[in-house]
Amino acid sequence: MIPKFFVNILFVFTSFLVVSQDLSYNALTISPDLKKDANAIIRLNDVSIVMETASKMYTKGKRVVTVFNKRGNKHVNAHAYYDETTKIKDLKAIVYDGFGEPLKKIRESDFKDVSAVDGGTLYSDSRVKYLEYTPASYPYTVEFTYEIVNENTAFIRSFTPINDYFLSVENSQYSIAYGEEIQLRTKENNFNAIELIKEDKPGILKFRVKDIPAFEPEAYSPATNVLLPEVMIASDKFVYEGVFADVNNWKSMGSWFHNNLLKGRSAISTGTRSKILKLVDGVDNPIERAKIVYQFVQDNARYISVQVGIGGMQPISAIEVDLLKYGDCKGLSNYTKSLLEIAGVESYYTRLYASRDNVLNVKNDFVSFQGQTNHVILNIPDNGNDIWLECTSQDAPFGFIGAFTDDRDALVITPEGGQIKHTKKYLPEESLQSISGEYSLTGAGDIKAEVVIKSMGIQYDDKYKLDSETPRELDKHYKTRWRYINGLVLHDFKIVNNKDDVIFSENVVFEASKYAKIVGDRMLFSVNAFNRNREIPNRYRNRKFPLKINRGFKDVDVFTITLPKGYKIEALPHDVLIENKFGRYLAEVQKIDETTIKYSREFTVLDGQFPKENYAKFRDFFKTVAKNDNAKIALIKTNTNP
């Protein structure tokens, strides 16, 4: 009797052969629809996974990519990572010319073999073998085949037929054969426009898509990992670095994580322990105590990324961070948590997906870490008023997480289990920048100005790094910020970073010659000298994706302008008020007396997602703002001989 499982293996591993036999690698016969906007096309991506038990996973794959031009070279993607628990069994590639004739065979030993350390990481024991190939001409096709054995089964790769711009797909298929003890869960995302062909038989699961045209990036659209089609796959039972798990909801996943990867890693040296106790001595309010601890960590430990073995998900122990005074996000969060515990403040280790632009939720209804988390922060429940702590920053204010981790669902891990919670969202009116300033013009058109800028919320996040810049860099910063003022000379600036209230204040004094243009008897100048929004979002003749504004903000400006002697006002810009679903814009110019003008401006942009048809209106809104932010005042010489 042949066990059912092996029948499946046979079936899976031969499945792509069926397709590849009638697949020609001739690049000339590719359909024009798939060539449009494509730098490369995936002719076939066939991934076959076999997971008999939770302790081993075989992956066999074939990826055939035809590249049309040099921008498409990166899509060949012939590479494989390996480490202690991931072994490469086989790796090879064949290059074909545009007619599908074989040009070159590349053996495993001809792949480049390097450490998989990226710029921000000090060390990682993961390595990568990749194909380096210089095409002699375009188009060309690379057929890449690989076989990998993995002892970690916590991360089963998702079926992601398309993952980049300017790349089309002819055929992409995925199968996973699984043993009787394995229960798989799947979740399909974003297949409304693309047909997903499914086959679900006992012991084997298959997916296939075909003919997906290439797409281009569009500004103000949702993140690609929110837009693109994907089938997520996870097994209830898995093994992670030798630790077995059997979970099917976040609560039990959290318990597993807590018991196996966190518990017993919070011991702290007696020295540090007594230091913490002394620091919080006499402080009753738990939040005040937490602030003291957070400050202690910021003063003492720095961020260093080291990825060794289990380091992938398990933090290094608190005592080690205590000794070395550095750690990565996991180590520093666990360390802070341990110190908070000593101070009698309860906090929870929290995994989420951190990215400024890719705001991605941990899916409440799909339990797996694959692609859903890449960072760790802490959660202090504080009776329902969640406080979030970013432990890798040595200068962020207490409880301030900024755009890196704001407004998204995260997995909070408590001893009782996991729980999905939403991180802090900064409302437009919280992300406030207010500028109050005054400037005067001389008879030669020169400007002398003094401004006070206060920034909060996300606008605080944008600026607080300036606090540690050198005067030379700040000089450059202000000249770039007001780049539309030619010949700006900075006289003085003062920065106050109020971390308690999370307000960043800048006081800047500058001067520039010929700000106002003298034309005959007249003088002409843009009234808004300090805060012009000059951005006009890109135009798309054929917008494909919805309009997405990740974060709103609000600017409030009040300027007082002193006019030069010998001139009087000839014409003032009209007041403007625009209100729509994207925000609000108000600009008013008021004559106070013969030589004084008051300019008030308010600009609010609201966050949200809107249908693609709204994009043009949104662009018009910004265009109108840019136009009015450049509105000019005309002065005329007063008659010297009345």
């Binding site: 450490s115 002409l524 890109n538």
Partner: protein, 671 residues
């Protein structure tokens, strides 16, 4: 009394001077320091930087190059934390490799007025293989806080005796005290190459060294005597040349825009092995003069040898040139042929890797394979062609004769009329006398058939032009409708082709739309995008709103509309290093503006011209008003690829004046 004060002051001075630079002797004063008193913007400072490289002889291994490093770094603030992580590259080849040993490292902090030391742990040291030729060692210090001081010392033992790392004397942070030593036995003769803005001279002395050699002799006895083993020890004395560098208060180097390669100005010393002479052995030369470098290169099988090979292409080149006799045409044909046949694999080098023959067959090669092949084919066709050694911008300027001074090779062809042309077949958009930007670096060295060399200036002489002709109808509502014709030549055309060739036309129009902040492009055409001998000509018709300010019954606008220069690229108040544009260039505009009906000119900007000293650059602005039309011509030109820092203020003002002049307004009034 006065005496005592003087004496007291003197003692104090001594106290300050007497820093202890022994490992572990970090002082309280060093920890208390809040900022560097000579450069308050420094995030960290080398309090002490020590290096000693010397040759050590052991009987098993022979000579080895040992480098001892000891550094003490003060970290003032969080920006300086990067200096708490150190990264080193160790070279290896075949069975030989450099070894990193003896790391001792500590961090010092001041706690309650006491100096507290934290030692590095083993787990903070990482070594891994970066490539076939390189291992990487990294270590990161524990307990890093603002104000801390770190110290580390280590040793590198290297079997690569000719490969002495440069002595670098200037960094991105200041150095308070530097002590460096290089000691070499008389058998190794090094050439010393210095460069940089900051002059450094060593103290040179000679000292005696000894080599102990133990020999063991076994003699089998004859007759009744037993086997004897005798130990002999002999001693060889030799002279060691010692160079010592002692520097105090070396300022930090700061980044500036438009710098070719800041390393060209970084103060450093390079020790290049020129020859070795061991007792009772022949002198073995490495390199000493440029002529030697050139000769060695030329005689190298991977250079000169590759030029001689012709058999692999003869048939194709014969066929290609069957009906061509004009030498210039031959050059063009062969150049285009090589470009179409062999693609660059991204690797630099003036020596071939797989060889020209294999590169030709596989249609892929490195820089040497492609351009030596090109040179060889030109020679085969009867053209006087020479390989030219080049150092790319990233590689720095080769000031001294070294084998590593160059990293690239191009081709020079000479004609009977005395003209010559530089060629590089690695990039598809390069052309005769248009080299890749990275190769525009000072001078190259052309090697003739006899193996002699001459300088070739790599900076282009010809202007790269950007000419814009605009015909604009201005409407009463401030909108404009117009046609634009842009012509780009030489390097301006190269940049354009590299960036936009192969991009979908609609995508490009969209890019253009957005570049000019949302103009509407109606018709668009680009000519000569692949005809490299001709300039790029781009024409389009466009519309754009709100291009004139309407104030009362008047229209105000800049005649350049959205084409005007809005921003001065030079923001720093002063600078140390020359501004390097790469090539001379000219930007010019010819604009004809048709006025809206019912309007007349009220005022026009003044005509004007201004220039940079030494004929380095010029700006001209000309405007003529007619009844219904205004004609404007504007020209700005930089005549030199490089402008010295002594002209920086003038250059900054020049660009500021351009921004101001181009913003000047024309006023129209309703009749």
């Amino acid at each position: 009394m006065r005496k005592i004060i003087v004496l007291f002051g003197f003692l104090c001075a001594i106290c300050v001077q007497a820093q202890d630079y022994k490992f572990g002797k970090v002082s309280k004063e060093e920890l208390e320091q809040k900022f560097n008193s000579t450069d308050s913007s420094a995030s960290a400072t080398y309090l002490y930087k020590y290096r000693n490289s010397f040759f050590e002889y052991t009987q098993e291994k022979g000579f080895e190059l040992i480098t001892e490093v000891y550094e003490r770094v003060k970290i003032y603030n969080k920006d300086g934390f990067d200096y708490a992580t150190k990264q080193l590259s160790l070279y290896k080849s075949n069975s030989n490799e450099e070894n990193f040993t003896g790391l001792k490292a500590s961090t010092y902090n001041l706690e309650k007025g006491k100096v507290v030391e934290s030692k590095i742990s083993k787990s903070a040291i990482f070594e891994n293989e970066a490539s076939k030729y390189k291992n990487k060692v990294k270590f990161t210090m524990p307990n890093i806080k603002e104000g801390c001081v770190i110290e580390y010392k280590y040793k590198i033992m290297s079997p690569f005796l000719s490969n002495v790392d440069d002595y670098v004397f200037q960094y991105d942070i200041p150095i308070n005290k530097l002590y460096a030593k290089f000691q070499s036995p008389e058998y190794f003769v090094f050439k010393v190459n210095t460069k940089g803005f900051f002059a450094v001279t060593p103290k040179v002395e000679r000292k005696t060294g000894r080599i102990l050699i133990n020999t063991k002799t076994r003699s089998s006895g004859s007759g009744f005597s037993s086997v004897r083993t005798s130990f002999e020890s002999s001693q060889i004395e030799y002279i060691t040349n010692v160079s010592t560098y002692e520097l105090d208060n070396v300022p930090a180097m700061k980044e500036e825009p438009y710098v070719n390669n800041i390393n060209n100005y970084r103060s450093s010393i390079n020790y290049e092995l020129s020859y070795t002479q061991f007792p009772y052995s022949r002198v073995e030369y490495y390199s000493t003069t440029w002529e030697d470098v050139v000769k060695n290169t030329y005689e190298n099988e991977d250079f000169g040898g590759q030029l001689k090979k012709t058999g692999y292409y003869e048939n194709e080149v014969d066929a290609l040139l069957a009906s061509v006799s004009d030498p210039k045409q031959k050059v063009t044909f062969i150049y285009d042929f090589v470009k179409s046949q062999v693609k660059w694999n991204g690797y630099y080098g003036y020596l071939t890797d797989v060889g020209v023959k294999k590169a030709y067959k596989e249609k892929v090669g490195n820089v040497a394979e492609i351009n030596l092949m090109l040179t060889s084919m030109l020679r085969y066709a009867g053209i006087r062609a020479y390989p030219v050694l080049v150092s790319t911008r990233n590689h720095g300027i080769p000031l001294f004769p070294t084998r590593e001074g160059y990293n690239y090779v191009i081709t020079c062809a000479k004609f009977d009329d005395g003209s010559e042309v530089l060629l590089d077949a690695t990039s598809s958009y390069c052309h005769l006398n248009v080299l890749p930007f990275k190769a525009l670096n000072w001078k190259g060295r052309a090697i003739n058939e006899q193996g002699n060399s001459t300088f070739v200036d790599l900076y282009p002489k010809k202007l790269s032009q950007d000419i814009t002709v605009l015909m604009i109808d201005l409407n009463e509502d401030g909108s404009i409708h117009g046609s634009c014709r842009k012509t780009k030549s030489n390097y301006r055309a190269l940049t354009y082709r590299e960036k936009y060739n192969g991009i979908d036309k609609d995508d490009y129009i969209e890019k253009l739309d957005n570049k000019y902040n949302g103009i509407d492009i109606l018709e668009f055409e680009v000519k000569n995008s692949t005809d490299l001998g001709k300039p790029i000509v781009e024409t389009f018709e466009f519309e754009k709103e709100s291009q004139a300010d309407i104030v009362g019954d008047k229209l105000y606008f800049s005649p350049l509309f959205f084409f005007k220069e809005n921003e001065n690229p030079f923001k720093l108040e002063n600078r140390e290093y020359p501004v390097d544009f790469g090539y001379p260039f000219q930007t010019s505009f010819r604009i004809i503006i048709n006025l809206p009906e019912g309007y007349k000119i009220e005022s026009l900007p003044e005509k004007g011209a201004f220039s940079l000293p030494e004929n380095l650059g010029i700006f001209q602005y000309n405007v003529v008003g007619m009844k219904n039309q205004i004609q404007v011509t504007i020209k700005s030109r930089i005549n030199s690829s490089i402008i010295g820092s002594e002209y920086y203020v003038a250059l900054k003002t020049f660009f500021s004046e351009i921004v101001n002049k181009e913003a000047e307004q024309i006023v129209l009034t309703k009749v």
